[in-house]
Amino acid sequence: MSDDVLAIENLSAAIRNGPTLLHEISLRLAAGEVHGLVGTSGAGKSMIGRCVLGILPAPVRVTAGGIRFLGKQLVGLSERDRRAAGASLALIPQDPLSALNPSRRIVSQMTDVMRLRLHLSHAEAYARALAMLDEVHIRGPQDVLRRYPHELSGGMRQRVLIATAFACEPRLIVADEPTTALDVTVQKQILRLIRELQRKHGTSVLFVTHDLGVVAKICNSVTVLNAGRIVEQAPVADIFLRPQDAYTQALFAATPRYDRPGDTLRPLPADFA
């Protein structure tokens, strides 16, 4: 299985002198695959993403296991080597407002990474930014590049971030609840957009979400997490048809079904919440 883009092996992480946040997590992602990470809030979904991206919060450490990305072990690398190994990694964050620096224009926030990773000149990076904004279906890209983040709508900001994430042709993108902060109508467009670009570029995606409806739309396989442990891991079709674990079943029951509008919303049983 050396052709996997990402292989997380028995990964554990803990707060220093504190509780363990992730228990022996293993998962594999093939090229072009979209893998969902689902679970309730606090389950450790984002923490797995942050382990992969190398941006753990200061008190959190990887205590065991490994992360193999494109055949290279990421755990234990020095910060400098880690940055170099991250050239084919990108992030689509949850909150598009706080993910853009309020005091910098869009153009510099899109081109800085291209200049750093692809060694493009100013002019080349600007041209590539225009092309990427075109790929995410933004009209009037020159105008958008001149703007500050607060001058754009939430959907526009997320498009800009998606364009930036794909700009350096990453092999793996971590998408951490990329639609949660958006209006419902915009959510669908953004989801479709990620799907479209992911297919076009053949990018693997680790897709963090608490919404099983989103998983059904976009993922090939899924890992269900509860309190930092894997409770179930399977192709999407299997999970939806035959959820094995009681927690997964409870998660389904708590998901509103657009096809059965009469259903009342059931909260998760207290022992899972």
């Binding site: 190398g54 200061a58 910060e79 964050p93 620096n101 005091s103 607060h150």
Partner: protein
């Protein structure tokens, strides 16, 4: 737009200055102490004493005195200093440049030191480096500026005599400069021997003034940097491949500066207030030491002029701070 805002603020400050003028005028005259009593030669007769009072207008009522003073002040004449017999306006203008240069250098030192400590503490958050920075800022905050001044005199003036402990420049060096802005003028006229001499004289008083403010800036800036470093844009910048140093300096610092300027900006006025003691300690010829002498001698016209000068400086500092918010935050610029 900007010019209009500045003009509006300056107009708004007129009533403030008028209030300060009235208040100090009354206060310095109702507190006990008599400037003329100090000048009376022994054995002077009553008529001579009365003539002295009349000479300074002190035989009139306070409101009469104020009207006379205000009328002249509007024309730029703030009276004659009782002790030096010089015009107050000229006296203040000859000493003001020394204080402005001292405060400016102190402010630069405070900002540079404060930002450096905050950035280093943020870079090493959660590690020994942060503990060291927090310890240093705590110590700097706990010791007031004049104590730093005295400690510096003992250490760098007496034990290791590296720096001059008094005055503003070496008096044996003929300066030949045409303004009292000795530091700036000597620099732009390539008289760098004088520049270094003035800086050497300034070093101890400026650093003494700067340390408590530097610590204040470091505290506030470090906590807003910590908040900014937790924002998604800072994480995203690290995912893009930028180092922590880059993220702190190129991404977070500017945003963290906005709350820092609003929380510590007013403290810059404390630097100006601090000059009163610090200039006295270092015999530095600015308006701070002039103010102490004026108060000791009950030199009413001089006190009055100096307090108004301080008030004008405070108003200008606040105006500059106000304008700096807009320069830092694009959301305010367009709003």
């Amino acid at each position: 737009m900007l010019a209009r805002r500045i003009l509006l603020r300056l107009l708004q400050s007129i009533p403030t200055l008028a209030g300060v003028a009235v208040l100090t005028f009354v206060l310095v005259r109702v507190v006990p102490g008599d400037p003329v009593a100090m000048m009376i030669p022994p054995g002077a007769d009553d008529a001579a004493v009365a003539r002295l009072y009349a000479m300074y207008g002190l035989d009139k009522t306070i409101s009469q005195q104020f009207l006379i003073w205000a009328g002249q002040a509007l024309g730029g004449n703030f009276g004659i200093s009782i002790t030096t017999r010089q015009a107050v306006t000229g006296l203040i203008f000859s000493r003001l440049p020394a204080t402005l240069e001292l405060v400016t250098v102190a402010a630069f030192v405070a900002v540079a030191l404060g930002v450096a400590m905050a950035v280093i503490g943020t870079r090493f958050a959660g590690r020994a480096g942060e503990v060291v920075v927090d310890g240093i800022t705590g110590f700097f905050l706990a010791v007031p500026d004049f104590l730093w001044g005295l400690a510096f005199i003992v250490v760098f003036g007496v034990l290791l005599p590296l720096l001059p402990i008094s005055g503003r420049a070496d008096p044996t060096q003929a300066s030949g400069l045409s303004t009292e802005f000795t530091l700036i003028e000597s620099f732009v006229r390539f008289r760098w021997g004088i520049t270094t001499d003035v800086l050497a004289h300034m070093a101890m008083p400026a650093v003494a003034l700067a340390l408590p403010l530097a610590a204040m800036i470091a505290r506030v800036l470090k906590s807003s940097l910590a908040e900014q470093m937790g924002q998604d844009y800072a994480l995203l910048s690290r995912v893009k491949g930028f180092s922590r140093w880059h993220v702190i300096l190129a991404e977070a610092l500017r945003n963290a500066a906005i709350p820092t300027v609003s929380l510590t900006g007013v403290q810059v006025t404390f630097l100006v207030g601090g000059t009163v003691l610090i200039e006295k300690i270092f015999s530095y010829p600015g308006i701070g030491s002039l103010a102490i002498d004026a108060v000791i001698n009950r030199d009413l016209p001089l006190i009055q002029g100096l307090i108004l000068t301080f008030a004008v400086i405070f108003i200008l500092i606040n105006l500059a701070l106000d304008l700096s918010y807009a320069a830092l935050d694009p959301r305010l610029r367009h709003g």
